[in-house]
């Protein structure tokens, strides 16, 4: 019984009605294409993808490189106050030592 139903369903699925396409559909597409110029330059993202594709680097290499670049950027953009603070402290320490020597 179930087999019969399976079979009938398969037959129905394989014999679905189809309205045929216009006989000139292919010709219409070809004619229309003749009026459209081709894009010669690939889109921006495609060029970028192709460029990366040339390198064939494994993913960890990209991660490492990104981390390195990020590190450099953060390093270069670190505020200069830290160094100034160090200078200030060294000056004050020197002053203290000098004052100490003066006492002696």
């Amino acid at each position: 019984m179930s087999d019969n139903r399976d079979e009938k369903l398969e037959t129905l699925l394989r014999s679905r009605r189809l309205e045929p396409a216009s006989a000139d559909l292919a010709q219409r597409i070809i004619l229309k294409a003749g009026q459209i110029p081709q894009t010669r330059t690939p889109p921006f993202w495609q060029s970028v993808r192709e460029l990366f594709g040339e390198f064939h680097l494994p993913k960890p290499a990209y991660v490492l490189a990104s981390a390195l670049v990020l590190g450099i950027v953060i390093g270069l953009s670190a505020p200069q106050e830290t160094t100034l603070a160090v200078d200030d402290s060294s000056v004050s320490v020197q002053g203290f030592l000098t004052a100490d020597e003066a006492l002696l």
Partner: protein
């Protein structure tokens, strides 16, 4: 058309299209228009809309032949089926399909006049039930039953593995059998 052109493989034609050879495009269109139309028709159930989709898909390829990347796609038809399916899904999202009135499908208790009427009614019911299936199940059925693609090819078009495709088909058939109990 020169016999030499007709003998060329799809990949060769696509390389020529990328160099702007219109004749190669013409051969490719004539070779594959019907099969992609069939698929689009299954989704849209409307000749004009299906023809527009096929035309759009081919014109996109002509306009920007760099879309085809032989190193990434093994077979033109597999890749292009995917494009047509996506365009059909977009089209369906834009415009909700016309829902045929339920009265068209009400089972008739009386004996139908002849075999043709029964078949016609069955066809209507099967179309209605397929249209009600989830998108992926419907795509799997269309590719495997209408286009005659192997399960492996259909899986590639849909971007799923073989097991997932088989499961989609099985679920679709189970649902159809359940919903069409009275007609099977």
């Amino acid at each position: 058309m020169a016999a030499g052109w007709a003998d060329k493989e799809d990949n060769e034609l696509l390389a020529l299209i990328q160099n702007g050879t219109g004749q190669a495009f013409a051969v490719l269109v004539e070779r594959h228009t019907d099969r992609f139309y069939r698929l689009a028709y299954r989704y849209l159930q409307n000749r004009a809309a299906a023809e527009d989709i096929v035309q759009d898909a081919f014109l996109k390829l002509w306009e920007n032949p760099a879309l085809w990347q032989p190193q990434r796609n093994s077979k033109f038809t597999t890749w292009f089926y995917r494009i047509v399916v996506n365009l059909c899904l977009d089209q369906r999202k834009k415009k909700k399909p016309e829902v045929l009135g339920n009265d068209s499908f009400v089972a008739d208790d009386r004996a139908p006049a002849d075999e043709l009427m029964i078949r016609e009614q069955e066809q209507k019911i099967v179309e209605k039930e397929i249209a009600a299936l989830p998108e992926r199940q419907r795509t799997a059925l269309n590719l495997c039953f209408d286009e005659g693609l192997t399960n492996q090819e259909a899986a590639e078009v849909m971007g799923v593995n073989l097991k997932a495709l088989q499961s989609l088909i099985m679920r679709a058939k189970t649902t159809l059998k359940e919903r069409m109990k009275a007609n099977l």
